[in-house]
């Protein structure tokens, strides 16, 4: 296992491209996305609705619904092994044990007609040689770990008997159960109340340290990223437009989109301001993307080059940014 500062990343995604065949033609939901994740690191993936966050997360586990979706290009290397080259059965075995994913909707993500105990033990027994009793005991201890009171009895509860926060914690317990190296968490707290969200995020962070896994935290909430992630990736229209260490990215964003996003989120301020800064316009239609920079239509610094040429990700002052004219860069 690699140490956090070791040069070899845990996950190396290169040029990942995912397309969907839809009624409106082919939609490229993820377009040549590349990024790395190092062991025991939390990486935030932020962006607006529909920019391809979930699809990116799903493709790491090869769970893109197919048809209509298909990974058409790129590689996903987990500890040097290209997941895309595995056969289906092999991949199945690695899901859960090496790479796991949890989802946004705690209400529907658990099977309503089985007890949570049986759902957790099923996962446990799939990946480890355990007896039913051992699995059950382990499940109870996992539930206790995610601070579910009275865990032993709760195992016999059905999902609908739990609150949203508890369900999400059950999901986390399931994710931890087989000790994966990478957990993809797709908006795990978005459906929860703020106070519950705080609880769950706290818990995730603690457990991550205990179990030493890497987390790819998918969210649209910049605040959450700022508070929990070491590094962040900002996506816009299927591509990563900026990436870097969280503090630096948020304190001195290079991409106009990142900057606009940061400015426009309402935050608790001492003074009421007359008008929030906005990013004008809307995200372009995924089936009808502009030729040049996809943000060009909404960008306040747009120049003619932006309409013709697509910028690629390059390093600017420590951040990686895909912009011809990054902010605060001296060109």
């Amino acid at each position: 296992m690699n140490a956090a500062d070791a040069p070899a990343p845990l996950l190396r995604v290169k040029d990942l491209t995912v397309e969907f065949r839809t009624m409106d033609g082919i939609v490229r939901a993820v377009d040549a996305v590349s990024f790395d994740i190092w062991p025991n690191e939390t990486v935030g993936l932020v962006g607006e609705s529909g920019c391809g966050k979930t699809v990116t997360g799903l493709s790491l586990l090869r769970l893109i619904p197919s048809p209509p979706g298909q990974i058409i290009n790129g590689s996903i290397e987990l500890e040097g092994l290209d997941l895309l080259s595995l056969d289906a059965g092999d991949m199945e075995k690695r899901r859960g044990s090496e790479i796991a994913m949890i989802f946004q909707e705690p209400m529907t993500s658990l099977n309503p007609v089985f007890t949570i105990g049986s759902q957790i033990t099923e996962v446990l027994r799939r990946h480890r040689q355990l007896s039913q009793r051992q699995a059950r005991e382990l499940a109870a201890s996992l539930l206790a770990k995610v601070s579910i009171p009275d865990a032993g009895r709760r195992l016999d509860d059905y999902p609908h008997q739990l609150s949203g926060g508890m369900r999400q914690r059950v999901m986390i317990a399931m994710a931890l159960s087989c000790n994966p190296k990478l957990l993809v968490a797709d908006e795990p707290t978005t459906a929860l109340d703020v106070t519950t969200q705080a609880q769950v995020l706290d818990q995730m962070r603690e457990l991550q340290n205990e179990f030493r896994m890497a987390v790819l935290l998918v969210t649209h909430d910049l605040g959450v990223v700022a508070e929990t992630c070491q590094r962040a990736l900002v996506m816009y229209c299927g591509s990563i437009v900026e990436a870097g260490k969280t503090e630096q990215l948020f304190s001195s964003p290079r991409h106009p989109y990142t900057a606009g996003l940061l400015a426009s989120i309402p935050r608790i301020r001492a003074e009421r301001i007359a008008e929030l800064p906005v990013i004008p316009g809307r995200v372009p239609d995924p089936g009808n993307l502009p030729a040049g920079c996809r943000f060009a239509g909404r960008c306040s610094h747009v120049q003619s080059r932006c309409h013709q040429e697509r910028p690629t990700l390059r390093s600017v002052n420590g951040n990686a940014v895909a912009c011809h004219y990054p902010l605060g860069a001296d060109i």
Binding site: M23, P280, G281, R282, P284, D285, G297
Partner: protein, 296 residues
């Protein structure tokens, strides 16, 4: 900051009813569905011709002798009293459409309206009453119910229609009710209340139009069911009274097939199979195209 014109306005303006357009586009992409539609249209033209008197007019004439074989004069031969089977089969097409359309339209309207009322007033006595009525009618086995209606309205040529409508609206009613219970909690209904719309206006302006996908699909199912039921009912002697239908032809044929005369049987069952098959394909494609989860 009028970004509307910059992004969406670039597309053609005033494309009315574009939700239906989207449905249409999806539908047209479905090859079996389109083939079904084409076949249904062919049948429809056949039926139309009968209504307009272009063909099939001699279905009641004794134009030949008994059980003539297939010939240029009689494409499907003649029946036991010398009537032209082809004309009768074509004429029966119009009957099928008549029965299908009358039953489908009325059953759908009744089911839609009553279902919408039940769903809208779910939990109240109106709903209870309508649910009760649905259960009551559901509890009576279909063919027995139809037979009972047919015999109690004996002599009326529409007994069969009445019976089918009375039983077919229930399916639609239940589906619409379920959908309306969902719709009822949509915020646009609340918005309509907030504006001051009366409940009736809400039902007719906001709720029913939003069940149109169910109504259309249900109507197409009712159409097929009506045609198929007609055959069995006519066989049982409680279907079409005067005129010609595939059911009557099959009824005629049940004795003939053992005499080795298959023309009535083949003509009617093939034509009917074709239409039902086409319509099934059509309604499947419609169902897919109109699935709200896949549309809006």
């Amino acid at each position: 900051m009028n970004e509307f014109s910059s992004v969406a306005g670039a597309r053609a303006v005033n494309r009315r009813n574009s939700i239906w357009r989207k449905v249409l586009r999806k539908f047209l992409a479905d090859r079996t569905g389109v083939a079904g539609l084409a076949a249904v249209l062919v049948y429809f033209v056949a039926a139309l011709g009968v209504w307009c008197g272009w063909w099939g007019t001699d279905w009641a004439d004794l134009g030949g002798s008994k059980w003539e074989a297939v010939s240029a004069a009689h494409w499907f031969g003649t029946n036991i009293i010398g009537q032209d089977i082809f004309s009768r089969a074509i004429y029966a097409t119009s009957t099928a459409f008549e029965v299908g359309v009358v039953v489908a339209v009325l059953a759908t309207i009744i089911g839609g309206v009553l279902g919408a009322f039940a769903g809208f007033f779910a939990g109240s006595w109106i709903d209870e009453l309508l649910l009760w009525a649905m259960n009551v009618l559901d509890a009576i086995p279909f063919y027995l119910f139809v037979a009972a209606v047919a015999y109690s309205l004996a002599g009326s040529p529409y007994a069969m229609h009445v019976a089918m409508i009375t039983s077919f609206w229930i399916g639609t009613g239940r589906l619409v009710r379920g959908e309306v219970i969902k719709l009822r909690n949509m915020e646009y209904i609340e918005a309509a209340y907030a504006i001051g719309l009366s409940r009736f206006m809400i039902i007719f302006r906001h709720i029913l139009p939003n069940t149109s996908h169910i109504l259309l699909v249900q109507a197409s199912i009712a159409f097929v069911s009506a045609i198929k039921a007609e055959v069995i009912l006519s066989f049982l002697g409680i279907g079409i009274r005067d005129g010609m239908s595939w059911g009557l032809m099959i009824e005629e044929s049940t004795k003939e097939v053992l005499a080795g005369f298959y023309n009535n049987f083949i003509a009617a069952s093939l034509l009917m199979f074709g239409l039902v098959m086409a319509f099934n394909a059509l309604s499947d494609a419609l169902q897919d195209a109109m699935d709200p989860r896949k549309v809006a």
